[in-house]
Symmetry: C2
Subunit: 143 residues, 2 copies
DNA sequence: CCGCATCCTAGAGGATACTG
DNA sequence: CAGTATCCTCTAGGATGCGG
């Protein structure tokens, strides 16, 4: 699609990439997305989250929740019963974000196999060069 | 939008979150996105990339490029001139991915201020509880 | 039930020097 | 020009135990 060829206007690259980094800073953590996905389905309690997200530690769940709450993606409600009950729910902007993430999910599923193929090809070519020294060029198309 | 409330079907959460993690594994690195954005604009050489991405080291640029190439998002072409010339270009699936990322960018820009506000509110409330002990509940809505 | 405090480790990423 | 090799730092995240 795009086919421009300036010596690369450095500042434009930054301008476009920067907001993306902001997103990743919120959602790029190891657990953020799974928490987000779980919470978007409806209000959910701490322990339920802990159970539905396999492998997460209490500590990381807390940290992730705090981080998302801090950014306004989650809302925390404490019911002062004994023992206490805490509920988390997604805010509107989180649900909106989630929609975009669904787009990414679909991309991933559409191209999962393409990526796998590319990966095998690459690793194979790499092994070829690392192994015996081939008569012709290394691992890439020498055009 | 969503308002279901089962004890959270754990496996569905995994099923939805997993492809997303795959995407992040490719693009979640500190530099991947900036490289992607730069490359999508058209074929570009190593040194041009190095110049257009501020703060990146030769090492990290190489690693990031290799990683993206391995996943079939970038294509590397070596022109055997002296000194050598290497060109990187985005593959179709990378451009497709880029489209989705643009969606995320727009979300980020739409809600940049909302997030900033939420953040200040949170930090302020936190400071309140950490500081003097307030007569009424901690930092969250006790419903 | 919900969470904070503490300790610890692996690996991402920076700085720098060398090379076909 | 376009990388590799080496070394070093720093922090995200895991394990565990206590407490309201």
């Amino acid at each position: 699609m795009s086919q421009r060829n300036t010596p690369v206007p450095a500042e434009e690259v930054v301008a476009e990439a920067c907001p993306l980094r902001e997103v990743l800073d919120r959602v790029g953590g190891k657990w953020s997305i799974q928490v987000l996905v779980a919470v978007v389905r409806g209000p959910i309690r701490f322990t339920e989250l802990e159970r539905s997200i396999d492998g997460i530690s209490r500590r990381m769940l807390t940290l992730t929740l705090r981080s998302l709450e801090r950014d306004g993606l989650l809302e925390r409600t404490v019911y002062p019963t004994v023992p206490a009950k805490v509920e988390y729910r997604a805010t509107p902007i989180a649900e909106e974000l989630h929609q975009h993430l669904v787009g990414l999910t679909q991309w991933a599923e559409r191209h999962r196999s393409d990526v796998a193929v590319a990966r095998r090809a690459y690793d194979l070519a790499a092994k070829a060069t690392t192994g015996l020294t081939q008569p012709f060029g290394p691992r890439t198309n020498t055009a």
